[in-house]
Amino acid sequence: MKTLFTSVYAWVDERLGLEEIQAFARKKRVPLHAQSFWYYWGGISLFFFIMQAVTGVLLMVYYRPGPDAYESVRQITYDMNFGWLIRSTHSWSANLMLGAVFIHMFSVYFMKAYRQPREFGWWSGLALLILATVFGFSGYLLPMDDLAYFATKVGLEVPASAPVIGPLIAKLVRGGTEVGAHTVQRFYTLHVVILPALFIPILMFHLWLVQKHGNAVPPAEENKPVAQRRSIPFFPNFVIKDVAVWLIALNVLAVLAAIFPWDLGPQADALRPAPKGIHPEWYFMSQFQVLKVMGDWMRGTLGEVVGVLLFTGGMVAWFLVPLYDPNKSSGRKARQATYFGLAVLAVLIITTIWGYAAL
């Protein structure tokens, strides 16, 4: 047994150079310090993304986009063995992934890991966040229950409010003037073909960059002399810890998905009035609330336009931070970047809570 394994390993190693990879993994080290905990969140995001791919493919086995969408999700939920669990896992994992990505992004921000030479890590990460929210938005419609229907209808009013090209874009996204079977069909294409085709290469790029530059250490650690910095080997020490964290993530996901099965509302019906408290997924709540408040302050579409501009401006500033605070000699600008991050975090949290309170 042992010798068989050894000889098969040797055979493969000779052709693929597994030893090189192993030697490389042994040499690689991960910094160890008070903030090391935050290094796990990129990996946790990755874990949930893998779960999305696995459960998503399983859902594709029975899901039918188009006019039959609701019925097929009803069958998955009530007729197929464990279909409710697969669907529940996909929905919970989507939300946990977004949560992990946000935590990952803010920890990267406050550790100033976006600084030289990691700018592309920051930018590709932001691209992944945007794609992840589009994943969420397009996936939310697919069951075509009434919540999905109205949330999408409302969500598409945001691009529709853009001047001149807005209504055109909204119509193209909907595949008509109203959300309907065509909208589901295109959201499905987006959700299972276009988004993965964009997301996976960017993710590979993102991971390759982490590998290339190694983990960033926070400024407090950077100021210590090199001899005082501690680190652990990537393999096996960090990998074992990473696996342990993934197991925790898996258990949390399994418990949530099994104990709180994802709901399926009544079938969408354009003639029924919108149910009370219609709201988007939590990661859009902040934008939703800002738009609502702006709409109250300024009549007509002006409020929406101002709200969208505010958010776009914030995103652009967020995107450009590595250029404003490029390295450890940024001084005053570095402090301002930290304050900006705290302000963004505070605004997001407050408007989100406000949004739920105002439902």
Binding site: L58, V61, N81, L85, A254
Partner: protein, 164 residues
């Protein structure tokens, strides 16, 4: 007081090293997780099979208006999940058969002009009265069903001695 721990680097015979134990334990836990994930996925994927198989256990089907079938003609119907054919012969006898070819499972057809049951896939021929395999690759006769003609349909039942 200092406690003495005995971390033996070399196990005595019949003992396991700590590393080997941890490896085995991790493998066992891994298997448990794989089973806990694999079982629901297996059951999920096999849902339609289970459904079809429970539908296939029918033992009686009524072919509506089957009694109106003209002499020398055949009519296809579903017996559970399987295609079946009802033939009204020139001599006024009735025959019902599972139409699944015993060679490789194509659906066979009744050809009234040649008065034979023919399978187009590899040219198998069956006797339309008995279902017996006459020529071509089919290794066994087609499965026969019992027929009872009533005023509002033809009742086809599973032959208790035959398996479908």
């Amino acid at each position: 007081m200092k406690k003495e721990y005995n971390h033996k680097a070399v196990p005595t015979e019949g003992e396991m090293t700590r590393g080997a134990f941890l490896k085995a334990a991790a493998g066992g836990v891994g298997l448990c997780y794989a089973a806990a994930a694999g079982y629901p996925i297996y059951r999920y994927l096999s849902s339609p099979i289970e459904k079809v198989e429970s539908a296939a256990t029918v033992s009686e089907v009524t072919v509506p208006d089957g009694q109106k079938l003209a002499k020398g003609e055949a009519k296809m119907f579903k017996f559970g999940a399987k295609p079946a054919m009802l033939i009204h012969h020139q001599d006024d006898s009735w025959v019902a058969l599972i139409a699944v070819c015993t060679h490789l499972g194509c659906t066979a057809q009744y050809e009234s002009a040649k008065n034979r049951i023919f399978c187009a896939c590899h040219g198998g021929v069956y006797d339309p009265k008995t279902g017996g395999n006459v020529s071509g690759p089919p290794p066994r006769p087609l499965t026969r069903l019992e027929v009872k003609v009533t005023a509002d349909g033809v009742v086809v039942t599973q032959n208790p001695t035959a398996k479908t």
